[in-house]
């Protein structure tokens, strides 16, 4: 599974993408955000306030309880500020 990071999440974690195998215990976007927080210093900072992190599953905005199985690309980013 490919994880991609943008804006300050990318800066805190220090990479813009990675390939990972998610533990079988992760069912939803909410589970994934908690798991990310425990993966090291950069992740701890990036995911310290998970309610400020937006998630997209295969380029569609996702909610906390959306399932993450059968997804190819998961993106993590702050609230958007374009336009």
């Amino acid at each position: 599974m490919k994880l991609v990071y943008f804006a300050w999440l990318r800066e805190h974690i220090g990479i813009d993408e990675e390939q990972v195998d998610l533990p079988a215990t992760i069912d939803t976007v909410g589970d994934l955000l908690i798991w990310q927080k425990g993966r090291g210093d950069g992740y701890a900072i990036a995911f310290s306030e998970p309610e400020t992190v937006r998630v997209a599953l295969d380029q569609f905005h996702a909610e906390q309880d959306d399932p993450v199985d059968r997804v190819e690309e998961i993106a993590f980013f702050p609230p958007m500020t374009g336009g």
Binding site: V4, F6, A7, W8, A56, Q59, F60, H61, A75, F77, P78, P79, M80, T81, G82, G83
Partner: protein, 153 residues
């Protein structure tokens, strides 16, 4: 109905003429242009860098356009151009064009597209301040509120 993401500037007149494409059924054309401001609150901005999520930005803007066309069947056509990369104060950031036979549809659809673009299109602004610092722009509560009026209808 089209979306372009590009680092380069755009010309509003040319884009509008190209979108109309000689169709004489169009009675009303609205354009919205967003520009880089030099001051945000009490901070002077020297530059702004726009980061985006290319695949999703393109898809999400196309979905927003499709929603506008579903909501306003009299929306003849629309176009979105969004720049990315580093821009300076006064530079154009985004262009939205809407065409219709009547003005109210063109105005409403342009506002709808901008409100959703602001909160759903994956772009992030980083401001470089005159004092050498740089910081990610915080999302505006006002932009979230702007969405609410479309839910009531």
């Amino acid at each position: 109905m089209s979306v372009t993401l590009q680092p380069d500037d755009f010309d509003i007149s040319s884009e509008l003429d190209a979108l109309i494409g000689g169709r004489t059924s169009v009675g009303a054309a609205v354009t919205f242009t967003g520009l880089v401001r030099d001051m945000v609150k009490d901070q002077r901005i020297s530059a702004m860098t726009l980061e985006h999520y290319p695949a999703m930005a393109q898809a999400e803007l196309e979905r927003i356009e499709a929603e506008a066309h579903a909501k306003w069947p009299d929306l003849t056509d629309s176009r979105i151009i969004h720049r990315f990369g580093t821009l300076e104060p006064g530079d154009r950031i985004v262009l939205v064009i809407t065409l219709s036979s009547h003005r109210q549809v063109a105005f409403e659809a342009a506002e709808f597209i901008m409100d959703f673009l602001k909160t759903r299109a994956p772009f992030w602004k980083k401001e470089s301040l005159a004092d050498g610092q740089s910081d990610w722009v915080k999302a505006s509560l006002k932009d979230d509120e702007a969405l609410d009026r479309w839910k009531e209808q």
